[in-house]
Assembly symmetry: C2
C-alpha cells in the first residue's frame, strides 16, 4: 500500500492514539515493577499496597486498548501491514497486562515477606534482576515504536542474561534453605518473585519477536530462550 | 445481523474450519497434561520426552490459527458478533498455547524428579489436580462451541476448587520440607508443577469469561478467583 507521507489517514490517527495508550501502559507496568521491588527491599507496606491497587488501572487500560483495536478492525477493515500492526498492538497490550499481574503478585508477596525474618542479600539481587527486566521491556517497546528489528533482536539476546540471573538466584535460595530450614518459607516466596520477574523478561522477548515479525514478516529462526526454562543443573 | 440458517456464508465456513483447529488444539493440550502427570507418577521417561517433543505441534497449530484468523479479518472484514467471535478464537488459541507450555514444563520437571527420591503421595495429589483442570478446560471449550454462558459460569466457579487444591499442596510441601530438608529440591519442583497446573485452570477460567463476554457482551461482575493468588495463610 503506497502512502503519501503528508496525508494522515483516519487509520493512522486511530493507530497513533491506541499506540499512545500502549506506551502509557508500558510506563505503568515498568513503574509497578520497580516500586514492587523497592517495597520489598525497604519493607515499605504502603508502597506495596499502592502497587497492588494500581494494577486495576493497568487492567482498565488493556481493556480500553482491546476494545479500541476491535473498533479499528470493524470500522477500517485494515489489510496487510495495517492489519498486522493492529494485531501486534493487541498482543503487546496482552503481554503488558500479564506483566502488570506479575508486578502485583510481587507486591503481594513482598507484603507477606515483611512479616518474616529477612533473607540476606536477596532483595538486592531481586532488585538488580527487576531493573534488567524493566530495561528489556522498555527497549522492546521502543523497538516497536521505531519499528527497529535490530533493537528487537538485541532484546531477545539480552533476555538470556535475565535467565542466568534467575538460575543464580535459584541456586542461592536452595543453599539458604539447606543451611537453615527456617528460611524455607521466605525463600519459596523469593523464588516465586524471581520466577515472575523472569517471566516478565519472557514477555519483553515476546514483544521483541512481534516487532521482528511485523517488520520482517517472519519469526526469527534461532531458538529463543525458553518461556518455561527449568534450571536443570539444580535438579 | 439477521441470517437465514439455511445459507452458510463464506465467513461461517472459515469460522467452522478455524474452530475445528482450536478444538484439536484443546484435545492435544488436555492429552499433554494428562500424560505429563502420568509420566511423573509412573516415572516414565519416554512418555515425558514425548510430551516435551509434542509441544511443537501445539505451537504450530496456534500459529496456523492466528494466521487463519488474520486472513479472515482481512478477507471478510467481519463486524459486530462475527468480529468478536474471531477475536475470541484468537484468545482461545493463545490461552491453549500457554497451557501447552505448562504441560511441557511439567514434563521437563517430571524428568528432573525421576532422578530424585520420591515424595510420598505427591504425584497422586498432582494427578487429581491435573484431572480437575483438564475437565475445566474441556468444559470451557464445550461452553464456547455451544455458546453456553451458564456452563461457562460454572467453569469459573469450579476454578476455585482447583485453587484450594493448590493451597493444600503448598501447605503439604512446606511441611515435608520443614520435616526433612532433603525433600527441599524435589518439593520446589513439585510446587512449581502444582502452580503451573493452577495456571492452566486460570486459562480455562479466562476462556469461560471470553464465552460469557461473547454471548452476553459484558464481563461478569463478580470477582473471579485471582490469576496470581498467593496463599497468604501459608505466608
Amino acid at each position: 500500500m503506497m502512502r503519501d507521507p503528508h496525508i494522515v489517514s483516519s487509520f493512522d490517527k486511530d493507530l497513533e492514539s491506541v499506540q499512545a495508550m500502549v506506551m502509557r501502559m508500558g510506563g505503568l507496568v515498568e513503574k509497578a515493577l520497580l516500586e514492587a521491588v523497592e517495597a520489598l527491599e525497604m519493607r515499605d507496606e504502603a508502597l506495596a499496597e499502592r502497587v497492588r491497587a494500581g494494577d486495576a488501572a493497568i487492567d482498565a487500560l488493556e481493556e480500553q486498548i482491546q476494545t479500541e483495536c476491535a473498533r479499528i478492525l470493524a470500522l477500517r477493515s485494515p489489510t496487510a501491514t495495517d492489519l498486522r500492526t493492529v494485531l501486534t498492538v493487541m498482543r503487546l497490550a496482552a503481554a503488558l497486562e500479564r506483566s502488570g499481574d506479575y508486578a502485583k503478585n510481587l507486591a503481594k508477596r513482598s507484603l507477606v515477606l515483611m512479616h518474616m525474618a529477612p533473607v540476606n542479600g536477596a532483595p538486592g539481587a531481586i532488585r538488580r534482576m527487576a531493573r534488567a527486566v524493566v530495561a528489556l521491556l522498555s527497549d522492546a517497546l521502543d523497538a516497536y515504536i521505531a519499528r527497529d528489528p535490530a533493537k528487537a533482536a538485541e532484546v531477545r539476546l539480552r533476555d538470556a542474561e535475565v535467565d542466568q540471573m534467575y538460575a543464580a538466584l535459584f541456586r542461592q535460595f536452595l543453599t539458604y534453605m539447606l543451611e537453615d530450614p527456617r528460611t524455607i518459607t521466605p525463600c519459596m516466596h523469593l523464588h516465586f518473585i524471581a520466577k515472575n520477574i523472569e517471566r516478565v523478561g519472557d514477555h519483553a522477548t515476546a514483544i521483541a519477536e512481534q516487532v521482528i515479525y511485523l517488520v520482517e514478516g517472519a519469526v526469527p529462526e534461532t531458538a529463543r530462550p525458553k518461556v518455561d526454562s527449568v534450571p536443570m543443573a539444580e535438579g
